[in-house]
Amino acid sequence: MNTTQLVAKLAERLEISQAEAKRLLKSQLDVIADHLAAGQQVVLRGFGTLGVRRTAAHKGQLPGTDEKVLFPAHRQIFFRPAAALKEEASEWEAK
């Protein structure tokens, strides 16, 4: 499913125009991104938590090469599914 399909479903469910639905979705994702950029965790109840964590510098290997590299400390975005979603999703079929 992509953004377009999601917007169509959202418009149908809320009985609003697709343009409006698209704007709302974009606004929501934008707000979440802002909070992530501010280093905060976004708790979406019943769905999961999006957050940023710092990763320490570590050695590694670039895929496909023999080159050993050092990955400098950086920030990573993580998603931790809520218990409810986790349980539901374990039954679903990955495609």
Binding site: M1, N2, T3, Q5, L6, K9, L10, R13, L14, L24, L25, S27, Q28, L29, D30, V31, I32, A33, D34, H35, L36, A37, A38, G39, Q40, Q41, V42, V43, L44, R45, G46, F47, G48, T49, L50, A57, K59, G60, E67, K68, V69, L70, F71, P72, A73, H74, R75, I77, F78, F79, L85, K86, E88, A89, S90, E91, W92, E93, A94, K95
Partner: protein, 492 residues
């Protein structure tokens, strides 16, 4: 737990982005919208296995194989059946917002030789560029495109030809080459001039020049072997030369022979060591090189220029490449500073200044969370509105507030941001001292967290007891709220 943002805050921030005022009803409605979006994402995961959100990321179901696990409490072995789990892959755009300058991996093993080695890796790249380019040329005719290639090729060191020398020679040339090997030098001299058309054939004659002559003079038993060696060298040279010839002919029909021969001999000389260790070829090719080089040098004035420009390009590239590995160790060592200072000047302010009419239910804390996506910096608003708002804990609905600009996001406040927030906190301190608010000292803590200079400049206003508390010992972190601790983190 100010570090965690829930749906309410998201709905509020969404309402803040709308043109109309953020009423309670609207916020509630947007909360429904946000919940519906999550619901649809969940449905999408179930039905499609993935949900791709443009410029945000992808939620995807991932199959997990069954495995034998252990109950960590009892140590009992149990079977975990295969199942699916939800994973999220952030989009590049989202990652960029979280970390504007993503540090790139640094090569480890050649770390000490990064700077001296970087020019070296580059020429091979260029050589590879020139190498493969001529190769397709004989088959697909693209001669007029790059006239500078012959010169480039002549400049190439032995590295490129030798690598090509290992390639299998084309079988269809063998007959011709053998023929050429036995022809007289005179015949060969004629040949290059006449077959100008861009066929591979003209390339061969010059290549043979130095090689086969001694072969005829030598003893019969050796002869066959030498001829074979000569043919091999010739083949290699022909293979190398062939494209050059092709590109040359259309450019300047009058000088292909000389130039080609020069190129051929040079490359021949270059390719000799890897191809054959025969002493025979060297004495002959020696004079040929000198004579033809002189010919060639006298001919085109453009050639060195082109050669220079073509030689310059790799240098530029290497210069462009070099700083990156040099910078990497720096960014890795002092990451927070680098990321904080670099992106700001290029970016537009995180929040542009506006005005806002206070609605019922608003507070400075909530407004800050809504517009700056971080509540802790609410004195930023207060500092800009001290004249209208005396009590920061009570703002009248209907009042119009100025929402000052915020240059960087709360995670990467600029110096001016920090100063403004610190002076806002100092205003809070002033008011709290006036009304004898118990939390006055915490406002001072915050002033020091954001910008110590503001604290120092107002030090004479502060009661000595408070200064003693603040400066007497390191500020115990437990006195700071979680949010302030978080803000202090990148500074210290």
């Amino acid at each position: 737990m100010n570090n965690r943002v829930h749906m309410g805050a998201i709905a509020e921030a969404m309402a803040a982005r709308e043109p109309q005022a953020a009423t309670r009803n609207r916020i509630a409605a947007l909360r429904q919208v946000a919940a519906a979006v999550l619901d649809i994402i969940r449905d999408g995961l179930r039905d499609h296995g993935h949900v791709r959100l443009h410029e945000f990321g992808t939620f995807r179901l991932k199959a997990v194989a069954g495995r034998r696990g252990r109950n960590p409490q009892t140590g009992e072995s149990l079977w975990i059946p295969p199942h699916s789990k939800v994973i999220f892959t952030p989009a590049k755009a989202l990652l960029k917002r979280v970390e504007p300058v993503h540090p790139r991996p640094v090569a480890l093993t050649p770390a000490p030789s990064v700077t001296p080695a970087s020019p070296r890796p580059n020429p091979p790249v260029v050589a590879v560029d020139t190498g493969p380019q001529p190769k397709p040329a004989p088959h697909t005719v693209t001669p007029p495109s790059r006239p500078e290639h012959p010169q480039r090729a002549t400049i190439r060191p032995a590295a490129a030809p030798s690598s090509e020398a290992s390639l299998p020679p084309q079988p269809r040339f063998r007959v011709e080459d053998e023929f050429n090997a036995r022809t007289e030098p005179a015949q060969r001299a004629e040949r290059p001039t006449q077959p100008a058309p861009p066929q591979p054939a003209p390339a061969e004659p010059p290549t043979q020049q130095g090689v086969p002559v001694p072969a005829d003079d030598d003893h019969p038993p050796r002869l066959a072997w030498r001829v074979a060696a000569a043919v091999l060298v010739g083949l290699v040279a022909a293979f190398l030369l062939w494209p050059n010839q092709e590109e040359l002919t259309p450019v300047a029909g009058q000088i292909p022979a000389a130039q080609n021969s020069a190129a051929s001999v040079r490359e021949l000389a270059a390719s000799e060591p890897p191809a054959t260790s025969q002493p025979v070829t060297i004495p002959d090719s020696g004079p040929a090189i000198t004579s033809q080089i002189s010919e060639k040098d006298s001919e085109p004035e453009v050639a060195p220029l082109l050669a220079e420009t073509s030689a310059d390009q790799p240098v530029v590239i290497s210069e462009a490449d070099q700083p990156i590995p040099e910078q990497k160790p720096d960014t890795q060592v002092s990451l927070p500073e680098a990321t904080a200072s670099e992106p700001q000047p290029a970016r537009e302010p995180f929040f542009a200044a506006t005005s806002y009419q206070v609605q019922p239910g608003d507070s400075l804390w909530r407004l800050s969370r809504r517009y700056y996506s971080d509540p802790v910096i609410w004195p930023h608003i207060y500092g800009a509105n001290v004249a209208e708002v005396r009590n920061p804990d009570l703002i009248a609905s209907g009042l119009t507030l100025a929402l000052p600009e915020l240059q960087g996001p709360p995670s990467e406040l600029t110096k001016t941001d920090r100063r403004a927030i610190a002076s806002g906190y100092f205003e809070v301190y002033r008011y709290y001292t006036e009304v004898d608010h118990p939390q006055a000292i915490f406002a001072l803590f915050a002033v020091r967290v954001f910008d110590d200079e503001i604290y120092q400049s107002h030090r004479d206003e502060i009661h000595p007891n408070r200064i003693r508390i603040l400066e007497g010992s390191p500020v115990p972190l437990r006195y700071l709220s979680g949010a302030l601790k978080r803000l202090q983190e990148p500074q210290s």
